[in-house]
């Protein structure tokens, strides 16, 4: 038992540490607070059409499209702080996005 002591202590300490720190420092950020962005549908290669006529919050944009967040699906729509002119345009520094539901 003595020879396993340090290993078991390390395991217990690691489990306790992870219990205290899990969920913090999470770089995969959860949904940002709802802000109004200009939303554009994305067909896989380029932006196609704007969702609505001006900036909208993400929930309203989700209602207006067939997009909904699925972590492992392709991107469905991008949200930008500024209106994108000269469509179609490859996704630049977007502020948010939807993934397809399927």
């Amino acid at each position: 038992m003595k020879k396993y002591f340090l290993g078991i202590v390390a395991v217990l300490f690691a489990v306790a540490l992870s219990a205290f720190t899990s969920g913090s420092g999470n770089h995969a950020k959860k949904e940002k607070p709802l802000t109004d962005l200009y939303w554009y549908l994305f067909d896989g290669t380029q932006i196609t059409t704007q969702v609505g006529t001006g900036p909208t919050d993400k929930t309203s944009a989700e209602t207006a499209t067939t997009c909904s967040d699925n972590p492992i699906a392709a991107v469905c729509a991008y949200g930008y702080m500024n209106e994108q002119t000269g469509l179609p345009k490859p996704p630049g520094a977007f502020n948010d996005r939807f993934k397809k539901s399927n």
Partner: protein, 149 residues
């Protein structure tokens, strides 16, 4: 001569224990963090162009491999194997981090716990340190077994 040999063996044993304990701490901590925040882990894996297709199986394989290696490291008879697997696993992680730095530095890290708060370069340095440490431990065990024979 005999006394210095025994002392050296004690120092080596202590060093191997410390290295093993550090690796156990690292692997159990990161594995538990990944399992506790499993959805988030899947999400960040899916962001990587290299791992996107395998995000779901990898999200289980990686933490359970870490736990398995930790079990090897806890048991003294299997410690040498555990250290070798640690070297291999940490080398794989280091190569992945190197790839992320080179090609997709803006993507989030699919690592567990507070390691996510490190920059990619800091993470690379941490990984390299653990590779070196595990390799050193493995070589020490190998050398000690030769001395004891």
């Amino acid at each position: 001569m005999k006394n210095s040999g025994i002392t050296q063996n004690n120092v080596s044993s202590i060093l191997i224990e410390c290295i093993s304990a550090s690796l156990i701490l690292l692997f159990v901590y990161t594995a538990t963090s990944k399992l506790l925040a499993h959805n988030s882990f899947v999400f960040t894996l899916s962001q990587s162009p290299l791992l996107q297709q395998y995000s779901i199986p990898l999200s289980w394989v990686i933490p359970f491999t870490e736990i398995l290696i930790s079990c090897f490291l806890v048991i003294p008879r299997l410690r040498k194997t555990g250290l070798l697997f640690s070297v291999l696993l940490m080398t794989a992680f280091t190569i992945y981090v190197g790839y992320m730095i080179a090609f997709t530095p803006r993507l989030p890290c699919s690592c567990g716990g507070v390691i996510k708060s490190l920059t990619w370069k800091e993470h690379l340095l941490l990984n390299i340190s653990f590779v070196v440490m595990a390799l050193f431990g493995w070589l020490m065990i190998k050398k000690n077994k030769i001395l004891l024979q």
